[in-house]
């Protein structure tokens, strides 16, 4: 009887180990476990009272602020404002990048001019242009968009021009053999063949723009009655609303993760991964 019991227990343990091992292999489950670990460590640090509570809020206070801002709609309004600006920045930059790339493909001299501009301007952080943006454009959404375009356009151009230039000669030959010319050649061959590089350009552009946006918002503050997440963090600092600040930082992280894992990964899954073209 005892032997049978031991055998059952053994099987249960084996099954539990098997389930845990399978779950551990799933990236998202590991991610959630890491988040819980950080939360636990945070709470331990809070309970230990080694840091002044006014500067180091508890997880409960941060969660409370997060839910408060979420439920009263202020958080969605800040997110909407910031995402609207970033969307403008991405659309304008992508359009400029595409036009400049096509011109660069048409003329070697223009390509050399654009690549020189990339090497000059790409290392320049967007935030360094803030004083210039204030003097040239003034304080407002336009200045933030200007900073973002600067942050997005150079890495995007670098990748798109690189992608177009490295389209294998065989695809070009095929395009010519099919009788494709001008814009049909661009849309039928060059753009789809460059999608892996275009996507890399968008991803780099997005991450640079996100950083630039938050920094620029902190400097420019509110435009009219609305403002974004960057200025929200700055305001909460003024009121010493530490829990609120951490809640806003959390929002920035969540948006970053959602865009990277949901939007870009989905685009990759239905394009380059599906086509076997992933870089």
């Amino acid at each position: 009887m005892q032997r049978k019991q031991a055998l059952i227990e053994n099987e249960i343990w084996k099954s539990l180990i098997g389930i845990s091992s399978r779950m551990w292999k799933k990236g998202w489950i590991r991610g959630i476990l890491y988040i819980f670990l950080v939360i636990a460590l945070w709470q331990v640090a809070y309970v230990s009272k080694r840091f002044p509570p006014i500067l180091f809020p508890s997880i409960g206070e941060i969660a409370h602020s997060f839910l408060r801002d979420l439920l009263n709609g202020s958080m969605l309004s800040r997110i909407g404002f910031s995402l609207k600006l970033i969307l403008y920045g991405m659309i304008i930059s992508a359009t400029i990048a595409m036009v400049l790339t096509l011109l660069a493909m048409a003329s070697k001299n223009f390509k050399s001019l654009v690549t020189s501009m990339i090497s000059i301007f790409d290392p320049l952080p967007g935030i360094a242009l803030l004083p210039l943006a204030i003097l040239w454009i003034g304080i407002g959404e336009e200045a933030i968009i200007f900073i973002m375009i600067h942050s997005i356009i150079w890495p995007m151009l670098l990748n798109v021009i690189g992608g177009f230039s490295s389209v294998p000669a065989i695809y070009r030959d095929l395009g010519y053999a099919f009788g494709l010319k001008r814009n049909r050649f661009v849309f039928g061959i060059l753009i789809p063949a460059s999608i892996p590089s275009i996507l890399t350009g968008f991803k780099t552009g997005w991450s640079r723009a996100w950083r630039a946006l938050i920094s620029a918002e902190m400097v420019f503050g509110a435009t009219g009655s609305s403002w974004g997440i960057g200025w929200d963090i700055y305001l909460k600092r003024s009121y010493l609303d530490m829990a609120g600040m951490f809640a806003s930082l959390l929002v920035i992280m969540i948006i970053g993760i959602v865009v990277e894992n949901l939007i870009f990964k989905t685009i990759e899954r239905v394009t380059v991964i599906k086509w076997g073209m992933a870089l």
């Binding site: 294998p168 065989i170 695809y171 030959d173 095929l174 010519y176 053999a177 099919f178 009788g179 494709l180 049909r184 039928g188 061959i189 789809p192 063949a193 999608i195 394009t271 599906k274 086509w275 076997g276 073209m277």
Partner: protein, 263 residues
Amino acid sequence: MTDFLCVNNLTQHFISGDQKLEAYSKVSFSLKKGEFLSITGPSGCGKTTLLRTIGGFLPPTSGTISIAGKDIKEPGTHCGMVFQTFDQLLPWKTILGNVMYPLIINHKFTNRVETQHHARKYLDMVGLDKFKDYYPYQLSGGMKQRVAIARALAMEPSLILMDEPFASVDADTRVMLQRELKSIWYKSGITVLFVTHSIIEAISLSTRFLVMGKSKPSIRLFEENSIHSEPDKLITPENTGYSEWWSRLSHLIREGNDSSAHE
């Protein structure tokens, strides 16, 4: 029968630094419609360059090419092209999408259903209709080459140019593809220009041989294949005259490899 393809005094030079490299010089020949010409010769004799020039991918240094009386200045749908590389399918399109694409952009049919039906007929001809929804990376090298052949044939060009299309496939697949090609060629009545390194492949498939050499004269032989056989079947060593042609072509290719022999 009048000549279908006329290559007249074609010369191709490339300039590299101060040096002038001659790919081939004063190449002239003509073909009747429906012939199967194998172009062979040693590596570097200009076979692929000649084929690309005939396809309009390279402007010749001098000379003219005409297909069905029309001068060829640029690539287009006047001839189908099958390249040597496996990666000649567009990776962002399915197998069916690859075959349909040139038909769609050239408005070969008035609606999508007809286009699809036509494309599937050619995919079926190369035995790949059941893989129509696959993407190129999911197929083997031999299968990709068959799709490329189906795509070129589906356009129903009067001339098809093939640049060592079976060079990178294993021996069994190669023979199978050769059989398919010969049968398709016979059924469709298409004219084929087929670049190959393999003497066996040239003899098995063609109705005419063109042997090129590295030095002048660029054309060492342009002759009809005199071996009698069933026209839709591969010519094999059992056919009378096979070994004589093998010795002759192999001798000419060896001779053509010696760049100083005729200079």
